[in-house]
Structures are given as C-alpha cells and as structure tokens.
C-alpha cells in the first residue's frame, strides 16, 4: 500500500481543491432573521473563494505541494493537512445538511446541484488515508544556534502570532457581540484551519523549537505572555462582550489552577470545590457594603478579598481534615457531600449570610481612582471597552494564582504533594507528614478559590447560591482534566475551552451538555493525560509516544477533538 500513498494524496488534494470550487448548497443558506449578518456563503459563483472554501483551497494546495517538496517527516505534515481539511469539509457539510434539512441540500434539489461538500469530504478522506500510508519517520528536531537576541525576537513574534491567531479564531465571523447564525461552523472551520497550520508547524519541529526556547528564556517568556494578556483589550477582542467572557474565563481558570493543586499535584479528588469559591464570594459580598449584606460594613476590596481567601482556606482545612482518616474515593465523597451541604445551607440563607434564594444582589462596583471597574477607560486616546479594569484585575488574579502554583510545585512541599499522589505509604515512610500536607493542599486550593470567588462576586455584582452547584464543580474538574492535570497552561486552556466553546457554539446549545458528557468519556478514553500533559504525568498516563509535545501542538487536536482523538499525539 505504501506505493499508493503518493497517488492517493495527489488525488485527494485535487478533489479537495475541486470541492472548494464547486457550489456547496442547493439553496441560499442565509437563514431566518439574520440576512445582513450572515457571512457563511454557499454560492453558486464557482470562484467566490472566501471563508472556509478558501481554507480548503489552501489546504488542498498544501497537500499537493507537500507531496512533491522533499520534506522530513512528511507523514505528520500531511496528516495535519488531511485532518484540517477533513475537519473543515465535514463541519460545513454536516451543518448544511442539518440546517438545510437533509442530503438534498448538498446534492441535487430543485434542479440545482451542489456537490462541493461531498467532494471535499471525500477528497480530504482520501488525502488523509494516503498520508497514513506514508512511512513513519522519527520526529524532526530543529535546534539552530542563535544569539539570544534573535531567540528573543523569535519568541516575541511567536507569542504575538499566537495571540493574533487566538483572537482571530475567537472573532472568526467578525462578531463582537453581534450574533451570527453561522458563528458555530465559521468558528469551527477557522479552528480546523488554524489547527492544520499549527499541526504542520508541529510536524516540522517549529513548535517544539519555540517551546524549548521559551523554556530557556523563562522570565522573558513570562514577561511577553503577561504583555500579551494585557494587550488583549487592544485587539479585536477589545469589546464589552469579550471582556466579559475573558474575565469569566480568567476567574474559572484561576479557580481551576487552585483545584489543580488539590487534584493535579496532591492527587486528592475534590468534587465540591466550587463551594470554596462560593464561600469566598459570599464573604466578599457581605463585606462589600451591599444593601442585602448581613454586615453593613464596606471593607476595601483588597482586604475583603484577603478575608474571603482566609475564610475559604479555613473551610478548606476543615473539609480536608477527614483526609487524615479517609482515602481516595471516600475522600471524593466527603467533598461531594460538603458541596451539597454548602448549596443547601446557602439556599436556606443560614445566619442571613447568603441571602438565600434572593442572593446578595447589587454588590457595589469596584473603583480605582474614581473610575468604576465596569466603566470604559481611555488610555492614550484609545478607548477601551467597559469592564476592562475587571479584565486587568483578573489578569492579576490569574498571575497571582499561577505564581502560587508554580512556586509551590517547584518546592519541597510540591514534591511532597506529588509523592503523596504517587505513593502515599512510601511518602510517609520517607518522612513526609502526609496528613498535614494534604490539609495544606486543601487549604491552599480553597484559599485561591476564595480569592477567585471574591473577584467573581464583584465582577458579577451578585452572589447567589446557584452559581456554586455540583455541575460547576464537575465543569471545573473537567477543565483541569481536559487541559492536563498538574500544569498551569492545562488548567487555563481547559477553562478557556469549556467557557469559549459554549459561547461560540451557542446555536448548538441544546446539545452542549450532551457533547460535554461525551467529550469527557472520549478524552478519558483516548487522551487521559489531558491536552497539555504534565511532563511527568504524560509518561505515566499516555500509552502512546507523546514526547516533545508543547502547548502549541495540543491546540491542533481541537478541531478534530472528537473525530480524531485517537490520532491525537500519534
């Protein structure tokens, strides 16, 4: 079959290109009440290349070119191209079928023919099949010697490019709070194409090279990353809508990193973690001077946040104390029970502290030098969207939490936590006071969640018990596991995915939880170490050779997360 690889790839690529040029739908798919917002074109005009058809065209051409150009590790390059093309083709074809009401929409109906989708799917499948027939090659490693300033420059460019890629992906379809009925397929198409691009970069060794460089220049990378985070409001994400979304992602990412200490480092499963966030939120709400608060005092936010963290931490110690006697799954149940008790008790407005079913509404806006955090801000003539100060606050929060996580992980205590996770008996035999350390893990995680909760309450202006239910705990846990246990980028990526995807895919929202459940099962089956695996854990959990993975190459899997989960990491 190996001999067939090249012809298959060539044929597949050509069919993809032809597919991109053919009409895709037998009817004009400018749906329902959105004519002027519709940007997904399914044309009769054969050469009207834009949007996903452009991506397909490029991917098809790339398939052809890579097939003939001498390349090392051709198989991985072409697989990335193939998966990307298949992703784009499938997403759009399925969408037209679903939205257009059947196969007539992509074949022949009312005297109109449209075989673009089917051609592209077949072509991409053939291309991919061909790519799989190529001989396996060792992973390409590029490691040119460069002066440090050149490496800095490359890093800078790489991070900025990544930032732009992310912002472009998120705003694919050009929306800034403006609803577009095709936002889902547009987003997914862009994601597939971007994934293919990153996949190719990974296959030729660029991502590994860059991630190694960023390891070498850790401080510089952190500075650039922070700068990128601060720069987000100045990009196409700089509008109210994305500020809210990114702020929410930030809060959950911070909480997820806290949970990562408990679950990822110390290996203690916590199924009631969101309760600590709730405790932090209620404490901050009560100290915010809100009318419905139990105490009529208003502490400065910083102080209130610290108090919230401390109170949550105390509860963390209390909830964690059964770890002295209870292990494993049983501990998970203790935490689950605690979470359920918290919800019930706060719903019953215990001691008047939680506002019960009325919640604690209208928590006053924070302000800095007289500027409310929800107001918009003008810096150097650039008008920044409202909520930008919250965004910055949350960037600080996330940075703080990352600092705590990173420092603790690389310390005597972090090592002891990992040892407890690996083999508690031996850790104890090696002199680790496991009980104390486990409680410390719970406390630290809870404190961070409490801090995040305090910010959350102010950002949302409400603290209500129904923000802190079991399904939120599960979502957070899923964020940690999806992203990769024990890593910071993992928790951030996980939180981002779990909050961005539902936003981008609102039109499929009825199936949101269905896919969520399915995704958990599939990920555990095919990539239990998460998208960004811990250097240690991936060796332990993965059954495939996944050496040399980095943040970048994991993004690739997204477009094909379900379809190609098995492929991921191969």
């Amino acid at each position: 079959m190996k001999a067939m690889a090249r012809p298959l790839i060539i044929v597949g690529s050509i069919v993809v290109i032809i597919g991109a040029l053919l009409p895709w739908a037998t009817f004009v798919l400018n749906d329902g009440p959105y004519p002027d917002k519709a940007t997904l074109e399914f044309f009769d005009a054969p050469f009207g290349l834009s949007s996903f058809r452009l991506y397909l065209e490029i991917l098809g051409l790339a398939g052809l070119v890579f097939c003939f150009v001498p390349l090392r590790d051709k198989i991985r390059v072409l697989k990335a191209v193939g998966w990307g093309a298949l992703g784009v083709a499938l997403i759009n074809t399925l969408f037209i079928i679903g939205d257009g009401g059947g196969f007539g929409a992509v074949t022949v109906a009312d005297g109109v023919t449209a075989f673009g989708g089917i051609a592209a799917v077949i072509g991409a499948a053939v291309l991919l099949y061909g790519a799989f027939q190529l001989p396996a090659e060792p992973k390409v490693v590029i490691n040119p010697k460069l002066p440090f300033w050149a490496e800095w420059l490359i890093l800078l460019v790489a991070f900025v490019a990544l930032l732009l890629l992310i912002t472009e992906t998120l705003t694919a379809g050009g929306h800034s709070g403006v609803s577009d009925p095709y936002i889902g397929p547009l987003f997914l198409s862009y994601l597939s194409a971007a994934g293919a691009l990153l996949g190719v970069l990974w296959a030729v060794g660029v991502t590994k090279w860059i991630s190694d460089m960023s390891e070498r220049h850790r401080i510089f990378s952190i500075v650039v990353l922070v700068a990128c985070a601060v720069a987000v409001p100045f990009t196409s994400l700089g509008n109210d809508y994305w500020m809210t979304i990114t702020a929410n992602i930030g809060v959950y990412a911070a909480t997820a990193i806290g949970l990562n200490i408990v679950v990822g480092l110390a290996g203690l499963l916590d199924l009631g973690y969101v309760a600590f966030m709730g405790i932090g939120a209620f404490v901050a709400a009560n100290l915010s001077g809100a009318v419905a608060a139990e105490f009529g005092i208003r502490l400065p936010f910083l102080l209130a946040a610290i108090v919230a963290g401390i109170v949550a931490g105390l509860f963390g110690a209390i909830v964690g104390s059964p770890t002295l006697r209870v292990r494993g799954d049983y501990l998970a149940i203790v935490t689950l029970a605690f979470g359920e008790i918290f919800v019930r008790v706060s719903q019953n407005n215990i001691g008047g502290l939680t506002g019960g079913s009325n919640a604690i509404p209208n928590i006053p806006d924070l302000s800095l030098f007289g500027t409310g955090f929800n107001d918009s801000l003008t810096i150097g003539g650039v008008q920044l969207p409202s909520g930008v100060l919250y965004y910055f606050l949350i960037v600080v929060l996330v940075a703080l939490v990352m600092f705590v996580f990173g420092n603790l992980k690389n310390s005597r205590i972090g090592r002891a936590w990992i040892a407890i996770r690996e083999d508690e008996d031996v850790a104890r035999a090696m002199g680790v006071k496991t009980g104390k350390l486990k409680i410390l893990a719970f406390m630290t995680g809870a404190t961070l969640a409490g801090l995040a909760g305090a910010v959350f309450a102010h950002k949302l202006a409400t603290a209500s018990y129904d923000s802190f239910q079991f399904n939120q705990s599960v979502t957070l846990l899923a964020a940690v596991i999806l992203g990769g246990m024990g890593t910071i980028p993992g928790a951030v990526l996980g939180a981002a995915l779990l909050f961005v995807l539902p936003e981008e895919l609102r039109q499929f929202s009825d199936y949101r939880l269905l896919f969520f459940g399915l995704a958990l099962v599939v990920i555990m089956r095919f990539r239990p170490q998460g998208l960004i695996a811990d250097r240690h854990r991936r060796a332990e959990l993965a059954d495939q050779d996944v050496t040399g993975e980095s943040l970048d190459d994991t993004v690739i899997k997204e477009p094909v997360a379900v379809a190609g989960a098995k492929e991921a990491g191969a």
């Binding site: 679950v263 290996g267 499963l269 059964p322 006697r325 209870v326 292990r327 494993g328 799954d329 049983y330 998970a332 149940i333 203790v334 689950l336 029970a337 605690f338 359920e340 008790i341 019930r344 008790v345 019953n348 599960v474 846990l477 899923a478 596991i481 246990m485 009825d510 199936y511 939880l513 269905l514 969520f516 459940g517 399915l518 995704a519 958990l520 099962v521 555990m524 089956r525 239990p528 332990e540 959990l541």
Partner: protein, 305 residues
C-alpha cells in the same frame, strides 16, 4: 405517635427504593472499585424504559390491567437498563480497566451527563417532568393510623425480596462465588479459570436489573419522572452503599433504610426540619466516613486496599 409511625413507614418505602439503586453501586464497587456515578442514570433510563413500554408497546386495553401492564413495564425497564449498562461498561469503562483511578471516575461523570441529556433531548416530552402511569392499585392502604400508597408497599416488598434473592445468589451460586473471588483478587480469579470480564458484565447487568425495576416502581409510586431523577436518588443510594460498607450487599440495604428513616425523621425531629433533611443525610455520611470508614457493615481491610 401516628406521625412517627407514618414517617417510619415513609422512610422504609423510600429506603426500599434507595436500596435497589444502592445494590448496583455496591456490587460494581466491590468488583472493580469504581464509583459508578452513572448508576443513577441507569435507574433513570429504567424508569423511562418502563414508560416507553407503557406508551408505545402496550395496547390500550392492556394499559388498564395493572397485572399485565406492570410486569411488562418492569421487564421493559429492566431490559433498557441492562442494555444501557452493558453499553456503558463495554465502551466507557472496560477500556479504562487499568487506567489511573481518576480516569474511570471522570468517565462515569461524563456518562451520567450524557445519559441525562440523551433522554432529555430525545425522549418525547422529557424536557420537563413526564407523567408516569399509575400501573398498580390506586387506592391507598390504611394500616392502623397510617396510610400508605399501595405502590409504596409494593416497592418495599420487591426491594426486600430482590435483596434477599441477590444475597442468596451471591453467596450460594457458582457465579456468585466467581463474583466474590473476582472482588477479592481478580488476578488469582483469572488463574482459577474465572473470566473476569464475564463476571464484571454480569455484575453490571444485575445492578442494572435492580435499578431498572427500581426506576419503574419509582415511577408508579411518584407518578412522574424526569431525566434528572437519577442524580439525587443516585447520590442517596451511593451514600447508602457507603454507609453500609461499600461492597457489602446487606450493608447497602440496611444503609438505604437508615437513610430513608433519617430523611423522614429529620423532618420532624432535627433542627431545620424539612429544609435541612438533606443536609443531615450528608452530615451523617461524612461522620460515618470519618469515624468508621469501612461503613457500618464493611470489613476493615477493604478500605486499605
């Protein structure tokens, strides 16, 4: 006094329901040390399976005769539950048999959400509660000063009978011995010629039968079902299994009755009354886990394993 007796009766009925679900938890945990969070959903699909049989399989004439309708629904519910449980075992859990502990637990959570949504989206009318036919004697029974619905009594009796049958089976039959052997040490059991896969499948199937029967009886007792009934009742059942000592059949049943009684007695006697009954159950659960982690009837070694 009347109230107390009535609450005890209610508690026993509720306990009977929880017992049927708890047995599935306890058996699966006993064999493969997996907290099958999705077991509550097996119970839920059983209830919907019974409803489907009633609505779409039974002719209208048969719907009216309870001794035709109810057995048909029970069988239908049990079959649906077993099918779902086996698919779940085969495609979600079996590939993870040797994975780190956390993986199957997360999978279980995923399966749980998936099944809830599947039923909600695809079962007609299930986006909110669906009425469940009263396929049993409707008139309540009056025993002394207490009144109980006939369907409640039926649930209690079925639950106790099934538990006894199960206990006898596990202790007495060849397959039961195989199950116990696998629970003790799967590797040795394999050496002894036992096929652990078959034992595990059987365990899931037995748990599913009980849950399916429980689901249908629950429907007849409560009169309506929704896709979320599995979660809370599953949680109670899990608490019962832990309370009784997970892995122990007798323990799960007794734990279930304890939970049923506490929930109903907390309504009258404990501070907070009906608003806090749920809280008391979980406080009890935590207390048991902390002070007697092996549960009321579990064996101490189990915990360390």
């Amino acid at each position: 006094m009347g109230t107390l007796l009535q609450q005890i009766a209610n508690g026993l009925i509720f306990g009977g329901l929880i017992a049927m679900v708890a047995l599935g938890y306890t058996m699966v945990y006993g064999i493969i040390q997996l907290i099958n969070f999705a077991h509550g959903e097996i119970f839920m699909t059983g209830a919907f399976g019974g409803l489907a049989v009633y609505s779409w399989v039974l002719p209208p004439a048969a719907q009216q005769i309870w001794y035709v309708a109810l057995p048909a629904m029970l069988v239908g519910g049990a079959i649906v539950s077993v099918v779902v449980a086996l698919l779940m075992e085969r495609f979600a859990y079996r590939p993870l048999r040797n994975a780190p502990r956390l993986a199957p637990l997360i999978t279980a959570l995923g399966v749980s959400v998936f099944l809830q949504e599947l039923v909600r989206i695809f079962f007609p009318g299930a986006s909110s509660a669906v009425p469940f036919p009263n396929a049993f004697i409707t008139a309540p029974l009056h025993i002394g000063s207490i009144t109980i619905p006939a369907s409640g009594l039926l649930m209690l009796i079925v639950s106790v009978v099934l538990s006894i049958v199960l206990e006898t089976y596990v202790n007495g039959s060849r397959m039961g011995r195989a199950m116990r052997a696998t629970a003790q040490d799967p590797d040795t059991a394999r050496l002894m010629g036992i096929n652990p896969d078959r034992v595990i499948v059987l365990t899931f199937a037995i748990g599913a039968v009980l849950a399916g029967v429980g689901g249908v009886l629950y429907g007849t007792y409560i009169h309506n079902v929704d896709p979320y009934i599995g979660f809370q009742n599953g949680l109670f059942a899990f608490a019962a299994a832990v309370l009784g000592g997970i892995g122990s059949i007798r323990g799960a049943v007794i734990g279930a009755f304890v939970i049923g009684l506490i929930k109903n007695l907390a309504d009258i006697y404990l501070p907070g009354g009906t608003a806090y009954d749920y809280v008391w159950i979980f406080i009890l659960l935590i207390a048991v886990l902390v002070f007697r982690p092996q549960g009321l009837f579990g064996e101490a070694e189990r915990v360390r394993a």
